[in-house]
């Protein structure tokens, strides 16, 4: 082992009974920053992952859309399903409607799905809280949980759906009556936007209400596991005409995902300040060490050490603190994640707000999803910053001339 690594380790962990206060405090500072970063990015990742699963399970990984309508959709479905990597495609019709129950109107989106093929691309069944998707027919609907709650409807109630066609028909002095349908199910995705504004019906009912005849607005597409959504959309676009385009779920939700990503990045960099503050503390401690060890640095020069080796000795101490702090921080972070639900529920129970928490976040457990890229970014940035923290003391040590350092006697 080169002497400067050996001495750096010995200075961090001296022999004998001397407790390495400087090392422990520096490592703990870095570890604290890493722990907070791991916990925060994992919880944010958990929310993000939950939303991704919810979108993919309700709409497939890719949506095929047309600016107007897709004519002869069975042909397009066949075309799309022939694309390598595509598992299945299912048609949908989608527009806003007015729903009225006991004189109270709301304006949700009504999505017409094909009960025969929707389960090949989406897993709506997973989100049903009351009723079953099997009960859906041309005279019934499934309502989002928050919407049902605001309207006060439940399974078995009858609601009226007013199509946007009513206005068009009125222009031609025609009467288009609202459609009375039964509620056969309540669905809950755990996402405020979807649960307050979504109603599902059969494709045929939606085609009737929107005057589409046999046309549809688009297709939901399921890809093989492991195939990237953007790649899947690219392959599908290659076989589709110009007026029909495929979009990955990330494209379709790009604004929402951008905001989520921005939020996560901002929180990451704000919390990374903890690591930077810890790095300043490492710099300060190492600078004091350089001043305290001026004569020893002179001695090393007298023994034949080069300035570059002396610099490496201090720089490596920053590196070791970074590596050790990162390792301890990862351990603490994953440990904190393991007991996160106990902590959150403990706080909620202590404040008697457990139900409020569950209702507000729609999660019975605090989600956590640790992405490899977040962990790698945290590790790399922390180690780089800690090593940089050792540069200034290292530079100062390297500039010390042995003769001047020894004269310090």
């Amino acid at each position: 082992m080169p002497w400067f690594i050996y001495l750096a380790l010995k200075q961090l962990f001296p022999s004998g009974k001397r407790f390495p206060f400087f090392t422990v405090i520096s490592v703990f500072g870095v570890a604290l920053g890493v722990m907070v970063l791991i916990v925060t990015t994992s919880v944010m990742g958990g929310f993000h992952y939950g939303i991704e699963q919810m979108i993919v399970n309700s709409q497939g990984q890719v949506q095929v859309k047309s600016a107007t309508q897709i004519v002869d959709y069975p042909a397009v479905v066949r075309q799309v399903e022939k694309v390598p990597g595509v598992v299945a495609a299912s048609p949908y019709a989608y527009s806003s409607v007015m729903v009225q129950y006991q004189g109270r109107p709301v304006y949700p989106f009504l999505t017409g799905i094909d009960p025969g093929s929707i389960e090949k691309v989406a897993n709506l069944r997973k989100y049903m809280v009351i009723g079953s998707i099997d009960d859906l027919d041309d005279d019934s609907v499934i309502v989002g949980s928050a919407l049902a709650e605001s309207l006060g409807v439940t399974v078995g109630d009858t609601i009226e759906i007013y199509s946007p066609l009513i206005i068009q028909k009125l222009e031609h002095d025609e009467l288009f009556l609202p459609r009375s349908v039964h509620v056969v199910g309540i669905i809950e995705f755990g996402h405020q936007q979807l649960d307050t504004s979504n109603v599902y019906c059969t494709l045929r009912l939606a085609q009737d209400l929107y005057g589409l005849q046999s046309n549809v607005h688009g297709l939901y597409v399921r890809l093989q596991d492991g195939l990237n959504e953007d790649e899947g959309a690219k392959r599908i676009n290659a076989v589709l005409p110009e007026n029909i385009r495929a979009y990955s779920w990330e494209d379709s939700w790009s604004d929402f995902l951008w905001v989520l990503g921005l939020e996560k990045s901002m929180i990451f960099f704000m919390l990374f300040i903890i690591v930077i503050v810890a790095a300043f503390s490492v710099t300060s401690s190492l600078l004091i060490s350089v001043i305290r060890k001026t004569r020893e640095i002179g001695l090393l020069g007298a023994l034949g050490a080069s300035p570059r080796q002396v610099a490496a000795c201090f720089c490596i101490q920053g590196l070791f603190i970074g590596v050790l702090g990162t390792a301890v921080g990862l351990g603490l972070g994953f440990g904190a994640l393991a007991i996160r639900n106990d902590v959150v529920m403990g706080i909620a129970r202590a404040t008697e707000r457990a139900e409020v928490l569950q209702r507000f976040y729609q999660f019975s457990q605090l989600p956590a999803h640790t992405s490899e890229s977040d962990v790698v970014l945290t590790i790399v940035l922390t180690i780089v910053v800690s090593t940089l923290a050792g540069l200034l003391p290292a530079w100062r040590a390297a500039r010390l001339k042995p003769v001047e350092a020894l004269r310090n006697e």
Binding site: P2, S15, G301, L303, L406
Partner: protein
């Protein structure tokens, strides 16, 4: 013909002081053969330490030449091989025990193995510290620390040993022991010794004595009356 372990010719050194320069060394000529010892005495501020640092290659002279074993290379890598140094304040590394401090000289030279560990142990035994190898510097007395420093200086079998007031921080008994140890080991290993000291008695124990006065070295012959420094 063997080159002297150390030869210095016409070495000059001055330092700025306000708008003028103070000439500390005004043409030093010195040659020390392998296995011999010289002492340099002088008043405080006469330039003894400056001269020793120049001889160690730690500082550059304004003029003159310095050769170690006939070579002008006095850089860090050669210093680790050729030179050993002992200081008044010992300069042991506080985080390392006595054995590790002695080994440090070899680590800087380029790595250690079982032979180096054995040599460090042997050197500690020769300076009378065979039982103190695992003691930290803070657990040793001043005399013991200086003996560790002597062992460290000899670790790489240097051809030249420079000692700067090695007894300055020791009591008389410990000082005598350290000087005898230095002279004995140098004689035994054929190492050339340059001893900077205030103590005339210690100076007399070396083969040749010099007095540094007004920037120049004056050799003191045994027939001359004792010089106070």
């Amino acid at each position: 013909m063997n080159e002297p372990a150390l030869s210095a010719h016409g070495v000059r050194k001055s330092y700025p002081s306000g708008d003028r320069r103070i000439e500390v060394l005004r043409g030093i000529d010195l040659a020390v053969e392998a296995g011999t010892s010289v002492s340099i005495r002088g008043e405080s501020g006469s330039g003894k330490s400056t001269l020793l640092h120049l001889l160690a290659g730690l500082d550059a002279p304004d003029a003159g030449t310095l050769h170690w074993g006939g070579s002008p290379d006095t850089g860090p890598a050669r210093r680790a091989d050729f030179l050993g140094m002992v200081f008044q304040s010992f300069y042991l590394i506080p985080e390392l025990d006595a054995h590790a401090n002695v080994l440090m000289a070899r680590r800087i030279q380029g790595g250690i193995g079982p032979a180096a560990r054995a040599r460090a142990k042997d050197l500690l035994a020769r300076v009378g510290l065979s039982e103190r190898g695992h003691h930290l510097p803070t657990q040793l007395s001043g005399g013991e620390r200086q003996r560790v420093a002597v062992a460290r200086a000899l670790m790489n079998s240097p051809r030249l040993l420079l000692a700067d007031e090695p007894t300055g921080n020791l009591d008389e008994g410990s000082g005598d022991a350290v000087i005898d140890l230095l002279l004995g080991l140098c004689r035994e290993t054929g190492t050339a010794l340059v001893l900077v000291t205030h103590n005339a008695a210690y100076a007399r124990k070396t083969g040749r004595q010099f007095l540094l006065r007004e920037g120049q070295l004056h050799e003191v012959l045994d027939s001359q009356p004792p010089v106070t420094g």
